[in-house]
Amino acid sequence: MAYRWTNDLTAADVTPKVAVMNRRQIMAGAAGLGAIGFSATQAAAQDTLTPNSFEDITTYNNYYEFGTGKSDPAKNAHKLVTSPWSIKVDGLVDNPGDYTVAELLDGLDIEERIYRFRCVEAWSMVVPWNGVELADILMKAGVQPEGRYVAFETVVQPENMIGVQRRVLDFPYVEGLRMDEAMHPLTMLATGLYGDPLPNQSGAPIRVVVPWKYGFKSIKSIVRITVTDQEPPTSWNIANAREYGFYSNVNPKVDHARWSQATHREIGGGIFARRQPTLMFNGYADQVASLYDGMDLTINF
């Protein structure tokens, strides 16, 4: 682990499993954080970061390979075969090859990170991920100097994936990041949730998590990582370039073509919950805004 980013939460704050379903206990734990001595703003930000229940996180998903309904992935993803699993690392790297998840993670510590998760459809969750920084994996792969982007690809198992049979999108699902985004300490490769291995519908066995971008950038169940010198194609951009850009940073000031991004609904609040204002870069502006200095985010949405 490189310790380029320090989690505001410590091991002591990891929610015990028995409390996972008990929101009040979690709230109490989060409120106690302020006393542990983080900077005031960080602590204040963390106060509101109450992870959603395991049930919320694993029954309300977009994973179009398993259907377009939010509960479809939870119903259908059991068909995903995750063992054996092999990830091809190729392109402009010193150590290309096919790796198992264990080989990729070898020598790295798994950390827990509690991140906001903002879907492009204007809803949000808070998720306690387990995983490593993508940067550590890229360093092990040995990114060559010409490498400017990283491309990812999701597994395709047509016989197991109802959405692939229906051609909802042009599968395999592909995503990409600029190298500085990929190397950013917030960017993770996650392998777990609430301390358990990722459930299939959440992108087992290994997925990307980029907390300041809309959820569809956080590509699931990856089988390929390619370092390239040009901006890679991305699935939603291919499907509808007018609505989905390459960057897709969470930005309350740039609306989706068909709906507002200024506010969102927090999952799990019930039907009478108020909409919440969406934060620039999903609340991670202090950490990532500098990556986009001088860029017009209205054009590069």
Partner: protein
Amino acid sequence: MTAANRINGALRKIPAWPIYWGVAAWVAWTFYQAASGLAGGPEPINWLEREYGALGLKLLIAGLLITPLRTWTGINLIKFRRAIGVTTFFLILAHFLVWAVLDVQTFARVWTEIVKRKYVTIGMAAFVLMIPLVMTSNNRSIRKMGPLIWRKLHRLTYPVVVLAGIHYLWLVKGFQIEPIAYMTVISGILVARLAWIRPKSA
């Protein structure tokens, strides 16, 4: 025609009022399920919106199938059409209210959405076009307007169902089968309505 006659004879004994109570009870039950977390999953508002909208669209189509059904099979469901039409309006009203009050929440945002988002504009237009229809769905209006003008006004149901179908088609992400299936049925109804000359008895 004997089979159709027998069915029509049986239908004569069934009143239309259970449609009103049935749909009202379903709306209440569905709302209760969403509010209590019994159904709808972690984000019940979206589920509720879609449940109301989807049944509304189904009933719109059902109402428009009554005449072709009579023409082709002789089965006459016309006595249920008003109940279907009126409950459709109230379903879509519930659909609109869930969206406006529970989902979008402020008047300013509701207005912005209606003006700015085309799929909302289209859905709203369909809803507004239904208002004169529900207001004239009574015997007094038919007498006052005369059947010809009344029938002409109620042809607005066709633009309503087309707008509703586009509204659904437009709000989903990616290539999805359901809205396309609805649009196909709606197109079929339109083609049938335009192509075929109704018998004089109608």
